[in-house]
Structures are given as structure tokens and as C-alpha cells.
Point group: C2
Chain length 148, copies 2
DNA sequence: TATTGTTATACTCTATAACTATA
DNA sequence: TATAGTTATAGAGTATAACAATA
């Protein structure tokens, strides 16, 4: 009832609420990073994926967990902004490959830099040891559930 | 042959990529939990907030990081689904209070249960000690950046 | 027939600006 | 004037179903 005025030791939310609320916190920060460049989180993610790949639409959709028809619109809008281009795949007349333009690379670089600063700030008050631990635990979860 | 012989050493993504990718992983799981009930992540979050509160629209918008006009639509759609109701606040003719219906409470319970199962599964292969550590670290970040 | 991608359609989510009603 | 909320509008994001082109 008057919880706001009482300074408590940090409450452990439990693993599920902790992960859920942390994910909302990080997503909000990524949303601000993207919004600073006039982009959405999914566009930020798209540019991030394309930094070191040149996938087809289907592969991209699988990677982002979207339907292929959603990819069409996503890539359309990124293309309209001059960030990505479609090129025809050499030996298959059906498929295209999506790649970053120069402008797209520059945007991706800025986004990564800003994300580094702003997401990094979320963990800034941790000790180095605990931050390394969190990094290791996050990687462990991600690696355990990204079996391609 | 045992799994240990084929298991690679996990790659440490670094704190920023680790947190970002973990947030995408958790959000995807929450998306599946919500989709199982025909809902979106933001509706799941709305129901979660309303479980122990009866806030006004403005307060709700602040809590979810949305504009008040976005709240109108969000609550409209939840109301149309029979999950929440608007009631007039007693001493201020301008404001309303949003609360869960019985059906909304039941949906929120199911969502929490499913999220517990599915988000919990993400951390299932951690040792108890490391899971407790992750819970503590997640809580520390959330508590450090959720000044209510 | 199967695969790759697009189109048509409908809905959700979101913000900005203008508005109403109450304080 | 200020605050609480809605409406009008525009755009992004998403999925389903149907389609075209290529393999």
C-alpha cells in the first residue's frame, strides 16, 4: 500500500518474471536506439542480421520468426528507405538475395554503437565479475536455444 | 557417444549482444504463450499489470511506455474481447479505472502459468545455482531501472 | 508437384494532432 | 488553464490465403 516510500533490499523476481521483465527493459532500450534513427526494433534486427549475411527472403523469415509475406513488407520498407537492396540469385530464378546498401551498413554501424552504449548502461552498475557472469549466463541460454 | 563429446564450448556474446539476443528469445516465447490464447505480447503485458492494480488510462500508458491514445485502442480491444472493463473513478469525472473481468483474471492466470512453463524451460538446463544467480542478476537490473 | 516470393486483405499496434469534458 | 481521455488519421507490422514464376 505504501510500498513506494519504503526502501527495500532488491526483490528477487524469480527466474520467469526476472527474465520477462528484463526482456521488456532491453526491448524498450533497443526501441529507443532504433527510434533515434527513425526505425523500429524489427528493422534494427533486420539490419543486424544482414551485417554478415546475404540471405534469401525465406531464410530471413525463418531467422526472424516471421511469415514470408511479412518479410516482403519489411524488406519493401527498408528498401524504400535506401537501407537494403534485392538482387537476383544467380542459379535460381525464383529467389532473391537481400543485402545492405552503403547507407544500410552505416545505419547498422550507428545502431550497434548506440545499442552498445545504451544497453551496456543497463548493466553499468554491476561489478565486472557479475557483469561477466550475466554475459556468460545470457550466452548459455541463447546458445542452448538457437540450434540451427 | 556422450553428449559431452559433441557439445561445443558456448560462445560468449558479450554483455550487449547477450542481453539483446536473450531479450529476443524471451519475447518470442512470450509471443507464443500469448498467441496460444489469441493474444499479443502487449495484451499479455496489459493483463499482467492489471492483476494487482486498477489504474487509470494515463497511469497505464506510463507504465507500459505508450501514448495515452495508444492505450485507448489497446483497452478497447481488450474490452471487446471481454477481458477488461472501464469503470468511472469516484471523485473525478474525467478519469476511468481499468480492471480485469472474471474472464480476464482467468486468462491472466493461464498466461502466467504457460509463461512459467515456457520461459522457465529456457533456463531449465542451468544448474540450480546458476539459475538462482541469473534470477538475481535479472532482478538487479530490473530493480535498478524501474523507478516506480 | 514443390519451392520462392508477391499480392490482396484484414487486423493489431502505435504516434501526432485535434477534440471533449472535467477540474 | 491544466488534466484525463477519446477520436481522426496515417503508417508500420503481422498472418492467412491465393497467386505467379521457376525448379
Amino acid at each position: 500500500m505504501t510500498e513506494d516510500t519504503v526502501r527495500r533490499a532488491p526483490v528477487d523476481l524469480g527466474i520467469v518474471d526476472g527474465l520477462a521483465q528484463l526482456s521488456f527493459l532491453v526491448q524498450a532500450e533497443l526501441g529507443r536506439v532504433a527510434a533515434d534513427q527513425g526505425l523500429s526494433v524489427i528493422q534494427l534486427r533486420l539490419l543486424g542480421v544482414l551485417r554478415d549475411r546475404e540471405p534469401g527472403m525465406q531464410e530471413l523469415a525463418r531467422h526472424l520468426g516471421l511469415d514470408k509475406s511479412s518479410m516482403t513488407g519489411l524488406v519493401d520498407r527498408a528498401e524504400r528507405r535506401g537501407l537494403v537492396r534485392r538482387t537476383r540469385a544467380p542459379h535460381d530464378g525464383r529467389s532473391v538475395r537481400v543485402s545492405l546498401t552503403d547507407e544500410g551498413h552505416e545505419a547498422a554501424r550507428r545502431l550497434a554503437e548506440d545499442a552498445g552504449r545504451r544497453v551496456g548502461a543497463l548493466a553499468a552498475h554491476l561489478t565486472d565479475a557479475r557483469r561477466a557472469l550475466l554475459s556468460s549466463l545470457a550466452s548459455e541460454l541463447v546458445n542452448g536455444h538457437t540450434e540451427l
